[in-house]
């Protein structure tokens, strides 16, 4: 069975609640069959609205959403056959776990034996086989979450939506649930659209991530690309840690450019700048800048250590570099770098292709 490239398709979708402000602007998004796509963004960026439009609880103001090439704007939620995991689980508190899972099957008038088989299978999938007779209130947060996932999957939907499903869990549980959901996705191959504001969650779980801001998709790409090659300064800032320099293009040629800062000059990789004189924000990941680099690098600067914070596996060093006193370095603790002391002047080097000249902030 070949996977469809545009199994879920947002085609020029606009959404406005009050007729004045567009919360979603001209959204185009294709999701492959069997893919795990995360909509990531700050609150108010329109990601949940997109999910609700896909689920059918909101209607697009303009444009159309296609599911398997069928327009679905006029189909009510209960006929879309899309599974959904809600932020607060939304388990039915008056039904047992078994009844909760059987609910979507019963409304589909599936025979009793099949219901039992399917529910047992779904419970086994989330390793809750013993809990069928419990009420949701008697389960821990993580268990409720797993029931909610199982319920959204038990009727074999083609797409499952998850709206910040791990938001209410504590950190450890959240991490183990991330893996669990990822493994479930891999084993049954269902298409998942996942909404979160937690970038760690998005990077761990997704095939592709759509970064939302201001009602628009800023970048849609795989986690590694998103982190390594952000296309604009919002994405660079939102995903991971980031050192930035604001400046102006002095010279641009052969896939590299010279940027004039308040103090000094650096060489950078022109991503969204074309011509001399343009304003730009240069973004460098903390781990790409090295102390006393052995290999030759085309940016070498001196900086003064202003703060040292021990983080267990690594040490974070805050430098004053080229007038930026917020320049962060991550130094692995295995290295015997003993120059890291408060007030020391150290040499910092990075490659120009890791310094991405993006749009100005």
């Amino acid at each position: 069975m070949s996977k469809k490239e545009d199994f879920v398709k947002f085609d020029k979708v606009d959404k406005s609640y009050d007729g004045k402000v567009l919360v979603v602007k001209d959204l185009n998004l294709d999701i492959k069959e069997g893919e795990f796509v995360t909509m990531l963004g700050p609150s108010g960026s329109g990601k949940t609205t997109c999910l609700m439009m896909l689920a059918g609880f909101e209607t697009p103001t303009n444009g159309e959403i296609y599911l398997d090439n069928n327009p679905i704007s006029n189909i009510p939620p209960h006929k879309r056959g899309i599974g959904m995991v809600f932020q607060n689980y939304a388990l039915f508190p008056h039904m047992t776990v078994f009844e909760n899972l059987a609910f979507p099957l019963r409304v589909r008038k599936i025979s009793k034996e099949d219901i039992e088989k399917k529910v047992d299978k779904a419970l086994a999938m989330v390793s809750l086989s013993e809990f069928g007779n419990r009420m949701p209130g008697q389960l821990s947060g993580g268990q409720q979450q797993r029931v909610a996932v199982a319920r959204a999957l038990v009727f074999d939907p083609s797409v499952v939506l998850m709206d910040e499903p791990l938001g209410a869990l504590d950190k450890n549980l959240r991490e183990s649930m991330q893996y669990e959901i990822k493994h479930i996705h891999e084993s049954i191959g269902v298409t998942v659209v996942y909404v979160t504001h937690d970038q760690g969650e998005a990077l761990t779980m997704s095939n592709r991530i759509a970064v939302f801001n201001d009602g628009k998709v800023q970048q849609l790409s795989s986690p590694d690309k998103l982190y390594e090659e952000p296309v604009n300064s919002f994405v660079a800032e939102f995903i991971g840690e980031n050192n930035t320099f604001a400046g102006e293009i002095l010279d641009i040629s052969n896939g590299s450019c010279k940027v004039k800062l308040d103090k000094g000059e650096i060489i950078a990789n022109p991503i969204s700048v074309q011509s001399v004189g343009e304003k730009t924000t240069v973004s460098i990941r903390p781990e790409r800048a090295l102390i006393n680099p052995k290999d030759k690098m085309d940016n070498n600067q001196k900086g003064k250590i202003e703060e040292v914070i021990y983080h267990g596996d690594h040490t974070r060093v805050r430098l004053n570099l080229l007038g930026n006193s917020e320049f962060i370095l991550k130094v692995p603790n295995s290295s015997q770098n003993l120059d890291i002391k408060l007030g020391n002047e150290i040499n910092i080097g990075w490659n120009s292709r890791d310094a991405r000249a993006l749009d100005p902030k």
């Binding site: 689920a55 059918g56 609880f57 009510p76 939620p77 209960h78 006929k79 879309r80 056959g81 899309i82 599974g83 959904m84 809600f86 932020q87 607060n88 939304a90 388990l91 039915f92 508190p93 008056h94 609910f103 979507p104 409304v107 589909r108 319920r151 959204a152 009727f155 939506l161």
Partner: protein
Amino acid sequence: MSSETQKILSTDGIPLEESLKKAEKKNKIKAFLLVTPLLLFLIITYIVPIADMFSRSIDDKLVTNMLPKTYKAMEQWDGKELPPEKVFEAFYLDYKILVKNKTAGKLQTQLNYEKNGFKSVLKKLARKQKKFEEGNYKEQIMKVHKRWRNVEYWRAIKRRAPAYTYSKYLKGIDMYSNEDGKIVQVAEDRRIHRILWSRTLEVAFFVTLFCFLMAYPIAHLLATLPMKYSNLLMICVLLPFWTSLLVRTASWMILLQQQGIVNDFFVWIGLVADDNRPEMMYNKTGTYVAMTQILLPFMVLPLYSVMKTISPSLMRAGKSLGATPAVAFFKVYFPLTIPGIGAGCLLVFILAIGYYITPALVGGASGTLISNQIAYHMKSTLDWSFASAMGLMLLTGVLVIYWIYNKLVGVDNIKLG
């Protein structure tokens, strides 16, 4: 293996268990003192009156104490034929004292309850007994009124001999114990109490039903509307609460009377002819309309407080899982509101079953309820023991309903707010 467990001692050598008890005792006393005012209030204003009501409803010492010699003399009388001279004499002596003390009126009233027409017979005796000569009282008394020759009147006196009676309760359900001591129903045309009981239940049931049907959508709207609208709606719901019950009932009288606003409107839109205006007041319709309006907030508030806690995502979850809106409502939303429905229905039903002012004012003859009958006996006939008996029957009825309700729904499931 020794089962002996080491006792844990606190630092001052007292076993931990004891010092814990000591510490908790103080808290218990404190807690008790805090609830004492409420407890006293309940005892004085609730338990004591009910106990007094109960003793009043079965107390029949009044007649017993007024005719001590008569009842002593009646002990040997079998009640088949006219009593012997001894009884007549004792009755004459007892009654003489009563007339002298000016308390004969009470006896007349009490015996009249037992046998209609007794009052006039006794009144005549009170006038004539002054001229009685000593001896042969049987002859003299029977001469005063021919009814004294009727053995039934003497049986009526004898029936009041016991100090306690359940006859008031029998009367409450239109039964009495007849001359032979058998419990029988009263004549068919006099069975008014049963009609009143069944009407009270019927009105309470339908008022509860109407309140439920009207309150459910209101409460749902209240719980789902945005704050600024729901506050306004809430005020509309509560406004009647802040208005005097009498004012609300009186305004219904203005609205519902034959020349009232509602009828005027019906005539104006051509629903009814001007000379054929329907009677909407002084009958059951008036009682239904006014009581439903007055009791509506008691249904809305518990429903609202329950619906407020139901997350809107539950309905969404139901729909996303493939349930039509109707199925999602009946399988998901409705079951979750049952605690509120239970609380609201119980509250409205119990309030309605004992409702007094509204049916008294707008009910007319066919819309009055058992509470009006109780008030009638309190104020007009002054038969307080009968009023007490009916009040207790009503209270028992409410407790039975509560018990049934607890069996069906479970009181723990109730949410009052």
